[in-house]
Symmetry: D3
Subunit: 110 residues, 6 copies
Amino acid sequence: MPGGQSDDRERLNELMATHDPFFAEFGALDESTYADGAIPKRYKELTGLSISVATRCEECVTYHVEGAMDAGAETDEPIEAIKIGVIGGGSITYPTARFAFARLEEHDVL
Amino acid sequence: MPGGQSDDRERLNELMATHDPFFAEFGALDESTYADGAIPKRYKELTGLSISVATRCEECVTYHVEGAMDAGAETDEPIEAIKIGVIGGGSITYPTARFAFARLEEHDVL
Amino acid sequence: MPGGQSDDRERLNELMATHDPFFAEFGALDESTYADGAIPKRYKELTGLSISVATRCEECVTYHVEGAMDAGAETDEPIEAIKIGVIGGGSITYPTARFAFARLEEHDVL
Amino acid sequence: MPGGQSDDRERLNELMATHDPFFAEFGALDESTYADGAIPKRYKELTGLSISVATRCEECVTYHVEGAMDAGAETDEPIEAIKIGVIGGGSITYPTARFAFARLEEHDVL
Amino acid sequence: MPGGQSDDRERLNELMATHDPFFAEFGALDESTYADGAIPKRYKELTGLSISVATRCEECVTYHVEGAMDAGAETDEPIEAIKIGVIGGGSITYPTARFAFARLEEHDVL
Amino acid sequence: MPGGQSDDRERLNELMATHDPFFAEFGALDESTYADGAIPKRYKELTGLSISVATRCEECVTYHVEGAMDAGAETDEPIEAIKIGVIGGGSITYPTARFAFARLEEHDVL
């Protein structure tokens, strides 16, 4: 499920699932969609990064940068994914693209 | 008018209305739209919460959670409103949904 | 699931569910979210109409106007729901609001 | 108010205003915002065209192309306005930009 | 450049490039972004399809379904790409997802 | 290129351009689009402000308020530009409109 990886994120996800099974079900559907399949997980996470930039969701960027790295993505791949988000969503996505590069720096891949 | 309830929010709303009557008129139109009518105010505020999640506007979430609580909404109602926002707007709304749950916690309704 | 009520809509929904269980699961989650609950189904469908106008989804408007009418909504209720969508989403939602009024005409409620 | 200039557009605008004064008030606020002021009407209409492309609203494009032409805009101005919309909103606005060029052709300005 | 593949699309793209070099440059940037690179073209086109569904751009769907097929994508890949768009963008993307399935039918891959 | 004017913004823009020429090219295209032309730069920057409010991009607001001021805009002009953004994008743009007024205060133009 998109979001930052802070304790608060985990705590609130659990709070939501505790109060209503909807959130556990939606989360499971999201996870199965991003699982290895006809499209390998690595490319799905990179797609998630492109969508996160195009739709300007910073927490989603954090989540999918981590997901892409965990799935074995190499430096030039997330950069290309960010470019796809920027060309699709235009200059209003630039702040989110910068945010994504700052996340890549934290993962020591730049 | 959507927004946080900080002093800054009030101060800026007044600043805007002082500089141009447009903002007072737009604000009045917004308030009359959310007033009790064929649809009771409580359900309108809950709808405002659903829209705030679907369109990912955190200040609007804060505003409509407060509005729904003031209009007598009970715990399961804002949770259902949040679900409607999430299913409509997808996983990119998840950070906003978490934000909404954090606001419900502050109102001691979880 | 939002969409027009043409045969094509039904046929494509089935085609999607046939090819991947994801679509049946997502559809079921959508339906349970809009079912009678703490918020009555009628108000949920009206909220769906507000979101459809605010996010400018014409097929969703058609779907939720029908849903609201089936759930017993009366004329002034969908009109108020449309207003909530317009004030939230601004003048770029006006074409969708007009589309919604045209749907209300077809249901003989104007 | 954004929209096509067909009879249907006028008829539905009247139908809406007849059923609820909200729509007349929102429409008046929209018109006064686009009236000659500190920013001349011509540039406001061109801005409306840029927003229409960036937010991908075809009926709004039709409305603001006509408004810009009526306010005395010359060929290169709407083209520059379209470019501002495309660079801001990215390649997902390209279909709307093409639609805008087709409207300019109809006004015999290309 | 996203869009339908009708003659009108080609004609308007040329008209735009003729009137202002911006459009040729933007188009070239879009094409180079989607070219084979660290991420293979096939996965980029599938990402383009996911973004098209998530942002609800039907002409973009047509363009990237064709692009993915031309790049050698097999049936289950575009279906997974559509799912990524739907889970990210929610039920308001359902009409666009149906549209995408209808395009897959035309390519005889369902 | 939209964004705040902090050191971090400059540093990240350079980091992006260093890693991939795409970002320098996209940035150059953005700058040429906003350069003096058939539409004077001042009105283009004001249009950029309207789009920033309508699409709710705070970093873009900061960038275009500064750009409009540098291009000689006077107080009532950015206020009218903000109004165009609000009427177009609705009450979900109100937090961004407040943010824009706070930026105008910093430029001592209110």
